[in-house]
Amino acid sequence: MSSIQAPAPAPGAATSVAAPSGAGRGRRFITMAKARPWLLLAPALVILGGLMIWPLIRVVIISLQNYGLREINTGKSNFNGVDNYVEAFSSPTLWTVVLPNTVGFAIVSVLGTVAFGTLVALLLARLGTTWRTIVSSAIMVAWAMPAVTGTYVWTWVFDADKGLVNSLLQGAGIIDGPVNWFTNRWSFYGIVLLNVIHHGFPFIAITILAGLLGVSKEMLEAAELDGANAWTRFWRITFPTLKPVFSVVVILSTIWDFKVFAQVYLMPGGAGSNREVLNLGVWSYIESFGQNRYGFGSALAVLLTLVLMAITAVYIRTLFKEDQL
């Protein structure tokens, strides 16, 4: 509720700034000038404080408790120290299933998305205006596909009974009967990878293309005259110039790919019935809302947050180095 009403004070306050009275104008001007940024920030701070920062603190508090339905209904706390974390770290599920599915998948999908996005950007840079518009519109279409519907389309394409892939492979005689691609961990994450790359490469291609257009043409032509081939020109001129852009897209996609949720949760078996395909986010969610073990689920969520915070720290340092703030 508070967030809906929060915007009200700021415009009022700003209007009063607009009409400084003649006497004592100088002094009031100084105080108002100091207060103005805070008045402008106030609504955002109230919303972010109440709905982002306090919940973040609270998830840590809950993670230190045995928090279940009883605690939710009575509102009482039930601290059990670091038991939830001990349980998480001593669980074989974490080491054999969840961490490989989370970290391994993030690494492979970041490499795949960035490499593919870069190739697409290089291709776009060589096209004329008309074709560039056509191809980038198509890329926008892929970007715009919501994660939920995109996941359902890929699920339909790989469907065990009626899917396109099975009927093509059966028609070509490569497989004898229908294959359920969702039960095997590798093929399951192969489909997730396809989904994530398809959805993630447009951002990278468009961002890198914007950078590519800023690379000095004279330098590239000079290098070509000197006999450098495309490969050398890319690594010696384009890549160093675009290094800041690359580090930003790599870190942002790492952060995004670490927290894939809908893409896994919505696939057959992804919502917990196939424990082989759990990742950290899905595990946390099903422990909380499926098993009512909110304390343990929170501990897993805290672990995921810590990993992402570490990557974010690197991201912020990169940004500061570029002096963009």
Partner: protein, 276 residues
């Protein structure tokens, strides 16, 4: 002038064709199945076996997907308006003023953006529950405003910073108050940014899945489109024709928005203003 060889041109043509096929295939397959009356039969035919609007008629009629579309539109509209306004005010503060804790503020906004939704969903579920907003769209709107704010501030900051300070000063010289300057200089010049930010908040609200699933629970007349799709999944068989028709209805508005924004963003409004 550089001469391109014929093989180079052919290579580029093949690459473009392959890229277009890969990029557009899921959308094509979705729409093909949506228009196919016998989509559920499956198979590998690349055209609808029996072209018809039946799936859409069923989805919007008997299946009641129209209600979910309306719910999502209401949520998205409220979120776009509130978060756009709040984000613009905050971005003016961080882009135009030098004050204590400014860097801390920016850092906080960046960090918050990276927090995984899975970590927020447990405490926010409890918070929404204790406010008595569980199973209601209002609870969802409150959460979405918060989710779309950090990115909105971050994005608008750049647009505000790009407005030349000279224009602002010119407004003051002409006797405008700060608020007047904000309305007549800042607001029109950051409009492309606001449009882009609004599109992103719209998409956040339109596509969001995990909070809708958690907060709306089993209250199916409050469902948004992202979780409304679940109703077409049966225990043993899925009604793929309807799922793809409903997916098409969800996806099209987002796609139209994206293509519009792409055009709008590329036009340099500020440059025009300075040249006068």
């Amino acid at each position: 002038m550089k001469q391109k060889s014929l093989t180079g041109k052919v290579g580029i043509g093949v690459a473009v064709a392959a890229l277009l096929i890969f990029t557009l295939f899921p959308v094509y397959w979705m729409m093909k199945s949506a228009f196919d009356k016998r989509a559920g039969d499956g198979g590998s035919s690349f055209l609808p076996k029996e072209f018809s609007w039946d799936n859409f008629v069923y989805v919007l009629g008997d299946a009641g997907f129209g209600l979910y579309l309306r719910n999502s539109l209401v949520v998205a509209a409220v979120v776009v308006l509130i978060s756009g306004f709040v984000a613009l005010l905050a971005s003016v503060a961080v882009a135009r003023f030098r004050f204590k804790f400014r860097t801390t503020m920016l850092m906080m906004i960046l960090v918050i953006q990276m927090v995984p939704l899975e970590a927020l969903v447990i405490p926010l579920f409890l918070q929404v529950k204790s406010l008595g907003l569980l199973n209601s769209l209002l609870g969802l709107m409150v959460v979405y405003v918060a989710l779309s704010l950090p990115f909105g501030i971050w994005m608008l900051r750049g647009f505000v910073a790009a407005v030349p300070v000279e224009l602002e000063e010119a407004a003051y010289v002409d006797g405008a108050s700060w608020w007047r300057m904000f309305r007549s200089v800042m607001l029109p010049l950051t409009m492309p940014g606001l449009v882009a930010t609004s599109v992103f908040s719209f998409i956040t609200a339109w596509n969001e899945f995990i909070f809708a699933m958690t907060i709306l629970g089993s209250e199916s007349d409050q469902y948004t489109v992202a979780i409304g799709l679940k109703s077409f999944f049966g225990l043993h068989s899925n009604d793929w024709g309807s799922i793809m028709a409903a997916s098409t209805l969800i996806t099209l508005p987002v796609m139209i928005f994206f293509v519009i924004v792409q055009r709008r963003l590329s036009s340099g409004v500020v440059a025009g203003a300075v040249k006068g």
